[in-house]
Amino acid sequence: MIHALANPTRFLKLARPLTPVLFWAGVALALFGAWAGLTQTPADYLQKESVRILYIHVPAAWLGMGGWTGVAGASLGYLIWRHPLAHIAARSIAPAGAVFAALCLITGSIWGRPTWGTWWEWDGRLTSMLLLFFVYIAYIALARADSDRGGDGRVPALFGVAGSVLLPIVRYSVVWWNTLHQGQSIGLTSSSIDGSMLWPLFFTIGGFTLLFAGVVLMRMRAMLATQKVEARLRRMAAR
């Protein structure tokens, strides 16, 4: 299935109709989730209204980390099977993941001020998430430099795999270390967020995830189109 999709023509045939569906479904779900989170849920007993930032912060954290999982997975796929599409996928995911990692840091900071009494502390979760954001920036710079110099993308792919060292650290920082950041609220089967406040979160998580996928497909199609243009120009120049 993945091998079949590695063919750019077949990929484009599927991606073209899928892009607007993912994008607009994502926008609709995220907007509905945000509306519900702002108006349809009760305020928290301790945090009061500032709890509502959760509906953006949690999807942002999920996509910030999920994005790097995608970069690392695609990079590994590129290193092993040398599918050019895997390289394009990794490069397309990175900026979207970086945006959500930044959004996670910013919303967390805004939430931290009234809740903890500080905008920023160098605790394990906050610091490792900031490092992940820097790793995204480094990957984007490295991938761009590599392609400018006509590299085959192996160096950024190695960096993409190596960068996943941060993922377990971000995830388990609150378990293994004393941190100011609270532990995980949502598990696979249970949640310490009351049901009346939890449900819009699923809409924003789902919505932002579809939006993320739509944006990644858009970027992949744009990169494939650029490559096609460059190849055609080269052929015309050679003639």
């Binding site: 301790l46 092993i80 310490s192």
Partner: protein, 144 residues
């Protein structure tokens, strides 16, 4: 072995090494990366005197005492294993309550007590509306 399979094995080994490195970093930094000391961490051990540290735990029920000057607060931080009396002078965050989490920044005194110059409220992972929280979590607050 075909080159593709060789790369697959190498790739999986690399992934394993990366995850192993991550586990090593997590366990090696366990003490270094701790954001705060829990009272149980310092009980029975030499106190980290003379340097700025953080002390974190729960504010013991019934332990908050406002001093007559209106600014100073005394309370006890506990983690169930040990308790440390804390003195603080300044403005406490809104979420600073008995029975909820706190991180105090300051220094240990030779007698085992702690003098804080800043307080951070630590929120736990439970989120609920006031009706659900009910009387269970209606703890004493400073502005009572």
């Amino acid at each position: 072995m075909k080159p593709k399979h060789q790369r697959l094995v190498l790739g999986l080994l690399a992934l394993g090494a990366v995850l192993g490195a991550s586990g090593l970093a997590l366990s090696a930094l366990r003490d270094e990366a701790a954001f705060f000391y829990a009272p149980g961490d310092v009980a029975g051990k030499p106190l980290p005197l003379g340097k700025a540290v953080r002390l974190g735990g729960m504010v013991e029920q019934g332990s908050i005492a406002r001093q007559p000057d209106g600014l100073s607060i005394a309370f006890v931080v506990t983690d169930g294993k040990a308790r440390v009396p804390v003195a603080f002078r300044g403005v406490a965050p809104d979420l600073f309550k008995e029975g909820s989490g706190v991180v105090a920044e300051g220094k240990f005194n030779p007698d085992g007590s702690f003098t804080a110059d800043n307080l951070l409220a630590k929120h736990d992972e439970r989120y609920m509306p006031p009706q659900v929280a009910g009387n269970m979590h209606k703890s004493e607050t400073l502005d009572k």
